[in-house]
């Protein structure tokens, strides 16, 4: 067998191996589609409610105007929505810096009746990076800047 032919044979073998590899990877990713999700969105929770008391994570947007602080000062109530469904959430503790209305949040906790009781809150940052001095800030962002600079 000539050298050129051996080279071609190796190339064909490699291409077949690569196709098999990519296929296996895609199948694995597909199988992990639901298991590898870090959190449920509100419409998942409403459509397939987990059994009461099971620890789950709920992720979505904090609805604008929904954050209210309870009288004890450390409990915060808000609504997490994904445009299709909305779930009320109660959390007692210190919220992360990026926890603001209209922004993403991941709450770890469990459903108690119709309310999601969170024992941990993680803020989710969006993909936008914009300096503070931008003129096109929304009212919520402007409020946040004012609150922070006080």
């Amino acid at each position: 067998m000539s050298a050129i032919k051996a080279k071609h044979q190796r190339l064909v073998l490699l291409v077949i191996a690569l196709i098999a590899l990519i296929g296996a990877g895609l199948l694995a990713a597909w199988a992990l589609k639901n298991q590898a999700a870090y959190f449920y969105v509100p419409s998942d929770l409403v459509a397939h409610p987990p059994e009461a008391g099971r620890a789950v994570r709920l992720g979505g947007m904090v609805e604008k105007g929904s954050i209210s602080h309870a009288a004890d000062g450390v409990t915060v109530n808000f609504v997490v929505g994904d445009g299709k469904a909305r779930v009320p959430v109660r959390f007692t503790g210190i919220t992360p810096d990026l926890f603001v209305e209209g922004s993403g949040v991941v709450a770890e906790g469990r459903m108690e009746g119709q309310t999601f009781v969170a024992d941990n809150l993680l803020a989710k940052h969006d993909e936008k990076y914009v300096p503070r001095e931008m003129k096109d800030m929304t009212a919520q962002q402007a409020k946040q800047v004012v609150a922070e600079t006080k």
């Binding site: 080279k7 190796r10 190339l11 490699l14 191996a17 690569l18 590899l21 990519i22 296996a24 990877g25 990713a29 992990l32 589609k33 590898a36 999700a37 870090y38 959190f39 449920y40 969105v41 992720g59 919220t95 992360p96 810096d97 990026l98 926890f99 603001v100 922004s103 993403g104 991941v106 941990n120 809150l121 993680l122 803020a123 989710k124 940052h125 969006d126 993909e127 936008k128 990076y129 914009v130 300096p131 503070r132 001095e133 931008m134 800030m137 962002q141 946040q144 800047v145 922070e148």
Partner: protein, 242 residues
């Protein structure tokens, strides 16, 4: 391409190309970091922590670029048996692992004040940690294969095959934030569009170019070292035979 198969010719080229990559690379990278740390304004939500962006994101890109180099070199080694391709793949492993570790460390430091946690097992973070472990495995395997070859075991293709199989993790890292709900945000820079304001984007891109040049320079330096090692070993073996 086989013109550079002659190591002597490659070494002559690499000798003057190394400082040509390293010096402008260091100037651009350090300049962009200084720009990012001291000049750009704070982010609307994250404030000053946004400055981590300028080291975190180039590290992430180079961590993945390192394994892409390994994968492409491995294909060239397996199909065309190019004598320098295996050396290039091995030379990219250590800098790639270092940038991957920097990305993970800075990401963790960034996550604490912004997300409220040091670490979560979401798709992006987990797949990037897997990349670091793949680098460790690759470095160990390449070292073992070299010792084996030096002991007369003959050239082994197992390192190249591992480099190729590990490449499946690269598209998974890239797509992890799209396929699965994750705490890490989706990509900011996609095909010709950027959700990063120009104020942050310019130092980021210049830094990325600078770090890439440094990466290339380090890979060339390591290739020269590996070639010198192989030559020294061959010489010792010839002496032992004589």
């Amino acid at each position: 391409m086989h013109g550079f198969a002659n190591p002597a010719r490659f070494l002559r080229l690499a000798r003057w190309l190394t400082p040509l990559l390293l010096v402008p690379g260091l100037i651009l990278a350090l300049g962009a970091l200084a720009w990012g740390f001291f000049v750009v304004p704070p982010d609307r939500l994250m404030g000053d922590t946004v400055r981590i962006l300028f080291i975190h994101v180039p590290s992430a890109w180079l961590g993945m670029a390192g394994w892409s180099t390994i994968a492409i070199s491995s294909i060239v080694e397996l199909v065309w048996r190019h004598p320098l391709s295996g050396i290039a793949a091995r030379a990219a492993a250590v800098p790639g692992a270092v940038f991957t570790a920097i990305c993970l460390a800075t990401g963790s430091i960034w996550a604490r004040p912004t997300w409220g946690t040091w670490w979560v097992w979401d798709g992006r973070l987990t797949s990037f940690l897997v990349l670091l472990f793949l680098y460790f495995g690759y470095i160990a395997l390449a070292g073992a294969a070299q010792r084996d070859a030096a002991a007369g075991g003959g050239a082994s293709r197992v390192t190249a095959i591992f480099g190729l199989v590990g490449a499946i993790n690269i598209p998974i890292i890239n797509r992890s934030v799209v396929w699965w709900n994750s705490l890490h945000q989706p990509p900011s820079i996609t095909m010709g569009k950027s959700a990063i304001d120009g104020t942050f984007l310019w130092p980021l891109l210049i830094g990325a170019v600078g770090f890439s040049l440094v990466f290339g320079g380090v890979v060339l330096m390591r290739m020269r070292t590996l070639l010198a090692d192989i030559q020294a070993e061959a010489r010792l073996r010839r002496k032992a035979m004589a």
